[in-house]
Subunit: 244 residues, 2 copies
């Protein structure tokens, strides 16, 4: 048996998320079903972490044990020949037996895109969060600095989060503007449930003038989810990369 790691790109629009759940079709499930159809082999595909319904990935990472004779460099071609077009396996590599896409991960990089203009986008409506009210770049840029470093992110995680510690390190948070879109790129050692979406929701409220850039320090201190901003919608979020 070989331990194979794959990198997967997907459009999350049509799915209930990465991970198999009771409701709707999961991306993980589609990959496992297609593999079984191709090879007759049932696999257990372990992802680096879940992504919610509507969230996208440029580079989700997953691994599975296989006895298949498909040469590893042919695996993406074989899979993609049978997958729906909104899921693509970009790479496959043989890893050591101790590699686990989730437990071996050293960090992740996410991107979040906010379209800031009067009207929505016919081309990107399930790819961005459409925010009508003008956003102030400088306020958001000042605020985002407070996230960098090691903090208790309790106020920036869903009550559903089951993590035992809410302390995480954000290594980098870059804000840029591409025409009418604000793009947040966030790298960290780990992310709590909904953490990126609540961080972006809070930054957007700061950009709208509804709260102050420095208020983030109070949110770290207070550790109350209800004191922070809204959860930004899923369709603006992309898992870019998992770091090992």
């Amino acid at each position: 048996m070989e331990n194979v790691q794959i990198i997967v790109e997907y459009d999350g629009t049509a799915y209930c998320g990465w991970q198999v759940q009771h409701n709707g079709l999961a991306i993980q499930q589609v990959l496992m079903d297609v593999w079984e159809k191709m090879t007759g082999e049932k696999i257990k595909l372990a992802g680096s972490g879940r992504t919610d319904a509507g969230v996208h990935a440029y580079g989700q990472s997953a691994n599975f044990l296989t006895g298949s004779t498909i040469p590893v460099e042919k695996i993406p071609y074989a899979w993609n020949g049978n997958l729906p077009p909104d899921i693509r396996v970009l790479e496959a590599k043989i890893r050591g037996s101790d590699f686990h896409s989730r437990f071996s991960a050293k960090g992740k990089v996410y991107e979040y895109r906010v379209l800031n203009r009067a009207q929505g986008s016919g081309l990107r409506y399930n790819r961005v969060w459409h925010v009508r009210q003008p956003l102030d770049f400088d306020r958001m840029d000042r605020a985002k600095e407070h996230f960098i470093g090691t903090h208790d992110f309790t106020a920036f995680s869903s009550a559903k989060s089951e993590a035992t510690t809410k302390v995480r390190t954000v290594h980098e948070l870059v804000l840029s503007k591409e025409e009418e879109e604000y793009v947040f790129v966030i790298a960290g050692n780990g992310f709590l449930y909904n953490m990126v979406r609540i961080m972006v929701g809070t930054l957007v409220e700061i950009g709208q003038g509804k709260r102050e850039p420095e208020s983030i320090l109070d949110l770290f201190e207070g550790k109350e989810r209800r004191a922070s901003g809204i959860t930004a919608p899923p369709q603006g979020l992309y898992l870019k990369k998992v770091i090992y």
Copy 2:
């Protein structure tokens, strides 16, 4: 009656194109139907030109005569409240009675996107042309220069083109690379049927080493459609802007 110009963004994936045809649903038709549902008024919406099935627009331009009392600045909000999410009216302006979105146009700007890597894209599969064989930037960059200026584009237009003259002027053709995508931006005074797609198809064949950059000069000379490259698929093409 006011002559109102609108700028429309759309994802062409689900439609038979901009213009009403016997097969499938046209973007023009959806806009007219929704307007009638909203106001009771039947309008004739004239676009700057057709876009084929699967072709997208960031800035299609159209105009129509209306007796509606909706203030012009409210028109995009009203329309977008009733349109499907893949069509968005970005702007509306009152124009003089002699303005016609097609006949008043001085030029157009198109963008074409080619994804050049081994595997396709789960996120952009109906937004780019996926070309597997590696492309040579320098060959395509040298070749594209030959298109700039005024030429007879007979070899770069569909046999279905009914234009009386095939002479057109390309003002600008910029090629850039954004990660794994080659992006062609083409500005000209007018475009024949399939002209951008055949130009890109030919440039890609040059990038693959199947033909020489200088062969474009022979194609202008020979005026034979079958001598030029393939018609690049519709989903990589975007109408960016109509110039007046």
